[in-house]
Assembly symmetry: C2
Homo-oligomer: 465 residues x 2
C-alpha cells in the first residue's frame, strides 16, 4: 500500500489520532483499501504526516481493537478480511447466487450446483498444470470468435455420440453461459420475433427477454410438453423448449410431440426451435433419448448445452449448434463479439474431454445422482406416503405434490422454519398458472449429501405432516 | 473413440474397404471424429463389423496415405490434426481475429494484441498452480453476479491509486469483455436512449449498438475530443468517449473539455457519459491524467476498463464502475446475469494483483512500449520526413499522415504488396468523415518486435515513397 495522505488538523476538536483512525476506517469501509493490504509502518507514516509516532500508534490500536486491521509479528499491520466486518455486499440479487445467500438455511434443495465432492479435481488440476506448463503463445492471443476449434471439435463429437446431435464444429459457438448465447440469438433473429416460452419454465428466460426488450408469450404444457395447438395460436416465431427433461415439471417429450413441433417450425421461414438440453446427461433408466436436433432435417433447431450441470457451474462454458442458415447470419453479422471464455479454460476443457475424463466423470455422476435421487425418493415415500413424486427418471431435480391443506407459501415457510429451503413451482410459472391443483415443490438434490437428503426429508415431514 | 458402426454392403459395387474408408473420411471431414481421437484397432473393428482384417487394413492405409489419420508405433491409429487438411474453418470474421487471419502479412500493425514476450509468464504460472493446489470449494460454485469481491476490491484500489477513480467494490461489475458490459448498460438504459459515438471512433461500438437495435449518432471531434455543441445538437442521452487517449486519433481531452461534457451530462436526468479507459495505463511523458470519473460529482460517469491491453486479451476480464443510481438499477434488474468470468480466473487475477505483479508488469511495460513507440517514430521520421505522426505520447498506437498523392486504399494496398498490413482511418469513421485531408494510417506497435518495427517501417518507405 502506498503512503496514506490525509491532512491532520491540530486545531480541530477531534484529537489527531481520531482523525487518522476515522480516515482509515472510512477508506476500509468503502473498500478503497483492499483486504489484505499492508498499512505503512508507524515510523514511516509518522514521518510522512509530520506527527508523533504515538498518534499513529493510538489510531492503529483503535483500528486493531475494532477488527479493521490485524497485526503480524515482525511484519506490520494489514487490512483485515472485510466480508465479516462491513456490510458492503450488495443487496440480495434475485436468484443467481441463492446458494451463497441462503446462509441461514441448513439444507438447501436448490437445483443450482453440482456434487462438488465428486468433481475429478485431481485430473482437472493435473490438466491445468500441464496446459500452463506447455507454454503456448495462443494462451496470450485472442482466440476465434466461436471458440477454440479443437474444443468445438470435441464438443461436436461428444454431442454426436451421446446426444445424437448432427453437427460439425463449424456450427458450434462457444460462450460463457446460456444467457450470452441467447443474447446472440436475439440479435440474429428479427426484431419482431415473438418467443414462445414453456409455462411453467426456466424463470431466467422471461427475465432475459424482458431485459432485452424482446416479446414473448407463455405457452401451456400438457404431460408431453409444449402444446402444439397453443403454440400455433400464440403467434410466436421461436419456441424455447426443454424436450429431454422439461424444466421444471420433469416430463420427457415423446417422439410424436417432437415431430408435431418440428412440423410447426417447418411451416414458416422465420420459425425456429431452441432446444435447451441442460441436464439430460443424467438419465437413470431406459434408453437415452436423443436430442430433438437429431430429428431435424429442415435446419430449424438451435441446440444449446452447457457444462454447468455436467461438470461445474463455475467453469462458465456453454455452447450452441446453429443450423446452416443461422450460421450464415452469425458469420455475416456477429463475429465482432469475441468469445468470452478465456483461451486457457478452453484448452484445459478440450484436454479434459479428449483424454476421456469427461466421459468417465459423466458415467460416475450418473451413478452418484441416481443414488441420491433414489435415497431422496425412498425416504419421502416412506415418511410422507401422501406425497407424490413427479418427473421422469432424469436430471437433478423432481417435483413433489403435497396434499396436506397447506398452500405453496405455507409449505415453503414451514420448511424454512426448520432450516430447509425448498422452491415452489409458482416461481417458474407465468400468469395464473395451473389452478386447482395441490401445490408443487421443486427439490434439487445434486449438491446435497445423501445423509443430508435423508435428514432434510425428515425435517420436511416434521414441517408438513 | 467408441466403436464405429457402419453397415458394410458386400453386394455393393464399391469394395468393402472403400465403403469403410469413405465413411471414416466423411466423419473426419465433418469434424464428428475429433482430431487426436483414437481409432479402434484393426482386430477389434474387424470383429465388430464382421469383416476381414484386410478390409480394415486397406481402409486405414488409404486414410493414412491421404493424411487423415496417423499411426503411432505400438499404440494404434489416430485422427490427424485437421486444421491443415480440411476447409472447415468458417469464413473470415470481420475483425475480431485479424491477427489470426493475416497469415499472409509478414508484419501486422494491428492495434490488437500485446507484447507476448514480456508477459510475466512465470509469475502467472506459479499463481495458477497455487490457486489450483489450494483446493477451495468456491472454485466449483457459482460466484457473485458482479464478480469475486476480493478481485473487485483490488480493482477499486488500483483504479483509485492509478486512475483517480473514486469508487467502492460495490459499484464494480466484472465481465468478459467490453461488449458484454455494454449489453448490460443498453438493457439498463431506456429503450429510447440515443448513444453519441466519437467520430472517428472504436468501430465495434456502432456494430454492437446496431446489433442491439439501439439508436446512435456519430458526433464529430476537434483536437480536444468530442465537440460539446455537436453533442448538444445530436439529441443523444449517453455519450461514449475515450478521454484519456481518444481512439483512434490519439488526443487527450483537456480538463476544460471534460468539464464541458460533465456539464452537459448534469443537465439531464437521463444523460450519462461512458468513459472507456482502454489503454491509458501507458502514458510515456508528463503527469498521468486522472480519469474523467474522478471529476464527476453528479454520478454521471460510467467508467469502463479491461485487462486486454494491460495484461493480455486472452484473459477476457473487463469491468465497469457504476454510479450509485445505476447500481440500484443493476441490483434491481440485472443480477440474473451470472458473471461470465470463471471463478478460477478471478482468483488468479486477484492474487496476481495483490502480490504486486500487476503493478510491476505495468511499470515494465510502460518502458517496453515507450521504447517501441520511439523506435517506430524515429525510423519513420528518418525514412519518411514528409510523414506526420499524430497522437499524444500515450497508448499502443498512433496515426500517420502521408502526403505522397496516394489515397488511403492505395497506401494500404501498396504496403500489403510488400507484406505489411496497415489500417486506414476511414474504417473507424462513420459517414463521410473529415474530408479534404491527406489520408491517415493507424499503426499499432504493441505486438511487434523492435527489430520488426524497423524492418516494417523500411518496407512502408519502399511502398510509399
Amino acid at each position: 500500500m502506498n503512503m496514506l495522505t490525509i491532512t491532520l488538523d491540530p486545531r480541530a476538536k477531534e484529537p489527531l489520532y481520531e482523525q487518522l483512525y476515522g480516515y482509515i476506517k472510512r477508506e476500509i469501509q468503502s473498500g478503497r483499501f483492499p483486504c489484505g493490504g499492508k498499512l505503512p509502518s508507524k515510523r514511516e507514516l509518522a514521518a510522512h504526516l509530520q506527527c508523533s509516532r504515538n498518534t499513529i500508534q493510538n489510531a492503529y490500536s483503535q483500528l486493531l481493537s475494532e477488527g479493521y486491521i490485524s497485526a503480524r509479528a515482525r511484519s506490520g499491520y494489514y487490512i483485515a478480511e472485510m466480508d465479516g466486518i462491513i456490510g458492503l455486499k450488495p443487496t440480495a440479487p434475485a436468484e443467481a447466487d441463492d446458494a451463497v445467500q441462503s446462509g441461514e438455511a441448513i439444507y438447501n434443495f436448490s437445483y443450482h450446483g453440482v456434487d462438488g465432492e465428486s468433481f475429478p479435481y485431481a485430473a482437472w488440476r493435473k490438466i491445468t498444470k500441464d496446459v500452463i506448463d506447455e507454454y503456448d503463445p495462443d494462451l496470450l492471443r485472442l482466440g476465434h470468435p466461436q471458440g477454440d476449434f479443437k474444443l468445438r471439435s470435441a464438443i461436436a463429437h461428444y454431442l454426436h455420440q451421446s446426444r445424437g446431435v448432427v453437427c460439425s464444429p463449424r456450427q458450434i459457438v462457444i460462450s460463457a453461459g446460456t444467457e450470452f448465447l441467447l443474447q446472440l440469438l436475439i440479435q440474429m433473429f428479427s426484431e419482431d420475433c415473438i418467443y414462445a416460452l414453456e409455462n411453467p419454465g426456466y424463470e431466467k428466460l422471461s427475465q432475459l427477454l424482458r431485459s432485452s426488450r424482446a416479446d414473448y408469450v407463455p405457452v401451456p404444457l400438457d404431460e408431453k410438453g409444449m402444446i402444439p395447438e397453443a403454440l400455433i395460436q400464440s403467434g410466436a416465431h421461436a419456441a424455447f423448449i426443454t424436450p429431454s427433461h422439461q424444466f421444471p415439471t420433469g416430463c420427457i417429450m415423446p417422439a410424436s410431440r417432437r415431430i408435431q413441433l418440428l412440423k410447426w417450425a417447418n411451416q414458416g421461414d422465420d420459425r425456429y426451435i431452441i432446444e435447451d438440453d441442460y441436464d439430460s446427461e443424467f438419465k437413470y433408466s431406459g434408453k437415452p433419448i436423443p436430442s430433438l436436433q437429431g430429428l431435424d432435417h429442415g435446419g430449424k433447431v438451435i441446440y444449446i448445452g452447457a457444462f454447468s450441470k455436467s461438470l461445474t457451474p463455475s467453469i462458465r462454458i456453454s455452447y450452441m449448434v446453429l443450423p446452416e442458415k443461422l450460421l450464415e447470419v452469425y458469420l455475416q453479422r456477429m463475429t465482432f463479439y469475441i468469445c468470452p471464455v478465456p483461451v486457457f479454460e478452453q484448452k484445459a476443457l478440450f484436454r479434459f474431454i479428449s483424454l476421456g475424463h469427461f466421459e468417465r466423470h459423466l458415467n460416475r455422476m450418473r451413478k452418484v445422482y441416481k443414488k441420491k435421487r433414489e435415497v431422496l425418493a425412498n425416504v419421502i415415500q416412506k415418511l410422507m406416503p401422501g406425497a407424490e413424486i413427479i418427473g421422469a427418471n432424469v436430471g437433478l431435480h423432481f417435483l413433489l405434490r403435497i396434499r396436506n391443506g397447506m398452500n405453496e407459501d405455507e409449505l415453503i415457510a414451514a420448511a424454512r422454519r426448520l432450516g430447509v429451503k425448498v422452491y415452489g413451482l409458482s416461481q417458474y410459472a407465468m400468469g395464473d398458472g395451473p389452478a386447482g391443483q395441490q401445490p408443487l415443490i421443486l427439490l434439487g438434490y445434486a449438491a446435497m449429501k445423501e445423509k443430508d437428503l435423508e435428514t432434510a426429508a425428515g425435517l420436511l415431514k416434521k414441517a408438513w405432516f
